[in-house]
Symmetry: none
Subunit: 193 residues, 4 copies
Amino acid sequence: MTTTPLRKDAARNWDRIVAVARTLVDEGTPLQLNDVARRAGLGVGTVYRHFATPEALLEAVATPCLEALAAHGERALADADPWRALETFLTRTVEAQVTDASLAPVTAAATDTVPRTTELKNAVWEAGAVLLDRARRSGAVRPDLASADLVPLMCGIAYAVQVRGRAPADRIETAHRYLATLLEGLRAAPPTR
Amino acid sequence: MTTTPLRKDAARNWDRIVAVARTLVDEGTPLQLNDVARRAGLGVGTVYRHFATPEALLEAVATPCLEALAAHGERALADADPWRALETFLTRTVEAQVTDASLAPVTAAATDTVPRTTELKNAVWEAGAVLLDRARRSGAVRPDLASADLVPLMCGIAYAVQVRGRAPADRIETAHRYLATLLEGLRAAPPTR
Amino acid sequence: MTTTPLRKDAARNWDRIVAVARTLVDEGTPLQLNDVARRAGLGVGTVYRHFATPEALLEAVATPCLEALAAHGERALADADPWRALETFLTRTVEAQVTDASLAPVTAAATDTVPRTTELKNAVWEAGAVLLDRARRSGAVRPDLASADLVPLMCGIAYAVQVRGRAPADRIETAHRYLATLLEGLRAAPPTR
Amino acid sequence: MTTTPLRKDAARNWDRIVAVARTLVDEGTPLQLNDVARRAGLGVGTVYRHFATPEALLEAVATPCLEALAAHGERALADADPWRALETFLTRTVEAQVTDASLAPVTAAATDTVPRTTELKNAVWEAGAVLLDRARRSGAVRPDLASADLVPLMCGIAYAVQVRGRAPADRIETAHRYLATLLEGLRAAPPTR
DNA sequence: CATGAATGAGCCTTCATTCAT
DNA sequence: AATGAATGAAGGCTCATTCAT
């Protein structure tokens, strides 16, 4: 896992590239490495040296956010109340998806380009799994949802919010509403019919 | 409402084009008009005459399914049990989304190419709205979900199913599970906190 | 030279097509037979039956104007003053070129599509030739300009006017100014140097 | 004014492209970037990188000739005889137009693609303006022609020569004859009527 | 390491012309 | 005669990727 640290100038370029890509993602502009290079004032070759594909770059953009989610997952495990821990975790996850356009494609991708991304995605899924298990064992959650369903469902909510349309400002509120509904369903007893 | 009926040969080509497009959609291949033309054994110009853009063609592919949903919506209104009516309607909608890859993009699109598509989409949304209203008035549904939320939520579930991955065969089952959870949340009393 | 007269409806279509083409020429829109057909509310085939190529149609559009010029040429021959006859003829020619966008391409074309066009072009050139000869013999014109130079020079003036730019309204005035200068040169004694 | 000098290989390609374009222009073949690329043995992208549009390429082709004209204009100002200076300048201009097919479209174009082209065109027009002014003040030229008329008139003569037809060899002679006539008209006193 | 010129497959679109109805 | 659907060559342009400098 030890990566050779980048030379100082290379590191500066790396940062510049990711910063530009971040801007593009926020603007909704599709990531094109040539484009990124031009905007960063760097040669295409340089960008390609750092990121072999647009996906790799996108993963780099998404990484900080994934790290934050993973970290939050760790912390949530310390919460004594299993349901509250789960609820907060899912809330953070959905908020992140709605706020950061880089997350959806990275999360939905079946395979990753950079190993670090896979690690982080696993960490988040794993945290969700543990939190769900704890909540289920505490009786707070219906039994027919697997831990592997959590992240997909959060992606689904984010997608629903996007389909709903509305101004970016309203999105968080909509997301909370959708999540609240789903949580209500999660909490309920197993389907009776 | 009166469209000039197509000449016999033109109609045959129209059908062939849509059929080819249907296949491509099912394969997950992106629709490209030149490609469609080649596979249909027709000139590019012919395809362009019938469908000016890939979106128009995709709408044509999705139309039968949208018609079925709209028709089901009509029928659901006849059901005496408001909750069951809503439940069945949403189930059909989600099943359609999961089964037919043409629906998601058409449903999510903010604007349509063919007027007929807009009509059908409106009919489906409208049916959902009425069904939700009836269910809400009968006390079966929490009050904080608007009718405009229904379709987005169904799209979200379909998306979640796709993120979940799995073989196509398992998808319907997953969709049912996710919908069941959401319905449980819908049915519950308003959030207590 | 006897052409079978068109059936009444065919004649009506012919007129409609030429009228539409006239409009397009005046708008500066390039003549496309498909386009003409659509605007005339006729099938493409019909337009093609009447005019095999865009050039043929353009010639039909230009014909009335060419006829007027040819007729004027005839009349000019009756003028007793050879110089005045020539001057008026050239003035009409330039005015026509500047006013009617269909003339330039038809006049400049090396070969014609419709025999009638060739006849008319010849008639105009011939009239110019005779008028120039008469003027030259009367001593009013320098000897080193051939009759075959007249029409090209008029085209040149029209082109110069167009390069000059300016609003259509000013064009006639500019054309008159350019023609006046050229006529002054024509009238002068043969080059002395 | 400072343009980054091209890399050696890029410069070689630039030259090759312009050379091919020059040939096409001389042949009377319309400039098509794909075509140019093929004939130059280069990728389309390379040609597009150098010249975004056919117009830009055409301007590059015309540039040397425009430079020569502009240079000649400068030199003509040194001639002590105002009329002779003007006469020589116009002769060079017409000869260029008749000889080089790239000039007419570039000169007639209302707007340019490359700034350098605009500069050169302005320089030529400006030289003409000064020469005409001087000649007019010396009494050698009729007063009703503005300096803005010079270039259009030269274009007009070139166009007339082209309409006249004839073998390329005869064109220069024809151009001289037409220019001589026009100059005679220029030199004359204002119209007496 | 950085650069950015070159590449060319690949997609899109138009339009003159033909021909079945 | 009239119609207009079909054709497909032709041309335009982009962009991910490579590689000489």
